[in-house]
Subunit: 221 residues, 2 copies
């Protein structure tokens, strides 16, 4: 979420002249995100969040509306940040192979650099009320659909071999998403090096080979 | 966890003549698992669990020791169930390709059929106390290590192309694990059909091609 844009979980108007409030709101969001990651949404109390930013619990409510709206803000911000990059790549005039490579690189690097945000997005979203969760689920589906669409196009023009493109998209995302569980900053590889390996694993598998007889696409495709 | 074996979270001795108690304990475990999946560990109260099995909260403590030990039981049982199959495959006298294929099939099918158990294992384990979590993390590491070891052997004997085998193992597991998030029983594909597609994606990528010049393994391998 861009600075200055309205936030569901945040009270009051954020203006340029109101910088300390904005900084305070960011501080609260970051503290809540860290706590949700460590203790889970339900395991985190408003008192925990107030303590983390050095406020009285009562004063916390001057800055935010509710714990649930805080979670929604965190989730929306994470989703917006990761989606912007993918949407931009999707619009580029590139071959499906090149687009998929860039999408994997973007996705992997983002996750490695924003593990906490991704963790909360992926694991705590289910604690939102059904209505709020629905909007997030729609956004997540759009993200998956972009990957599926790139792969499907690659198959259609013969760059990729015929496969169930939806399962292929889930596979690519699962492979990359899993980084939020195992990646460590202190490990031997940089995010971009890992992205190159994952991209290689997927592209070598999907790429159609000239010496192979093309097979008809599965009916469901 | 096998029936009749001691359970950390369960009070009293479980014997063959004590069947109703055992059934009650299983019932409590299943109810707690469902609640942990839906509401999270911290979002589930002992009262919720008592209500789900039609007991008074006080009576619940006749059957279990604590909510945390219930979580540990659920996690241990899920891990034991999925590990037994993998350990058996790992001991088979098969080529690494065939072993990997079977391991992927086992892993994928298990997840598709035990989503709830896997969900709690993967997302709620972090709410165990550090000491209890450590034992679970060690078990999970062993599981990953088996996949890494099969892939590493395949590379060593030239069946698989040279790659970072640890990243390859995380990729395979991430790809398969992600099923606990997207798989639906009402979808068009059976677990074994999905397993075949995932196995195909991985094996086509990893398999060394005779027309390719072998490259030296990365130093870190």
């Amino acid at each position: 979420m861009k600075k200055g844009s309205p936030r569901t979980g945040v009270r009051g108007k954020v203006t340029r002249t109101n910088l300390p409030t904005e900084i305070r709101q960011d501080q609260i969001l970051l503290a809540a995100r860290k706590l949700f990651r460590e203790k889970g949404y339900h395991g985190t109390s408003m008192q925990d969040i107030a303590d983390a930013v050095g406020l009285q619990k009562g004063s916390l409510y001057l800055h935010i509306t509710s714990k649930e709206d805080l979670l929604l803000d965190i989730v929306n911000r994470a989703h917006q940040d990761i989606s912007e990059g993918l949407e931009a790549i999707y619009q580029l005039h590139l071959s499906p192979s090149e687009k998929l490579k860039q999408a994997i690189r973007h996705h992997t690097s983002f996750i490695a650099r924003n593990r906490e945000a991704l963790w909360v997005l992926l694991e705590e979203t289910r604690h939102l009320s059904p209505e709020k969760r629905k909007a997030v689920d729609t956004q997540l589906k759009r993200y998956t659909d972009i990957f599926a669409s790139i792969i499907e196009e690659g198959m259609r023009i013969g760059e990729f071999r015929p496969l169930d493109y939806k399962i292929a998209a889930f596979s690519v995302l699962g492979m990359c998403n899993w980084l939020y569980r195992w990646y460590s900053k202190s490990g031997p590889l940089k995010p971009e090096e890992i992205a190159d390996i994952l991209s290689d694993i997927i592209l070598v598998s999907l790429t159609a080979r000239p010496d192979e007889t093309p097979q008809p696409l599965d009916k469901r495709q």
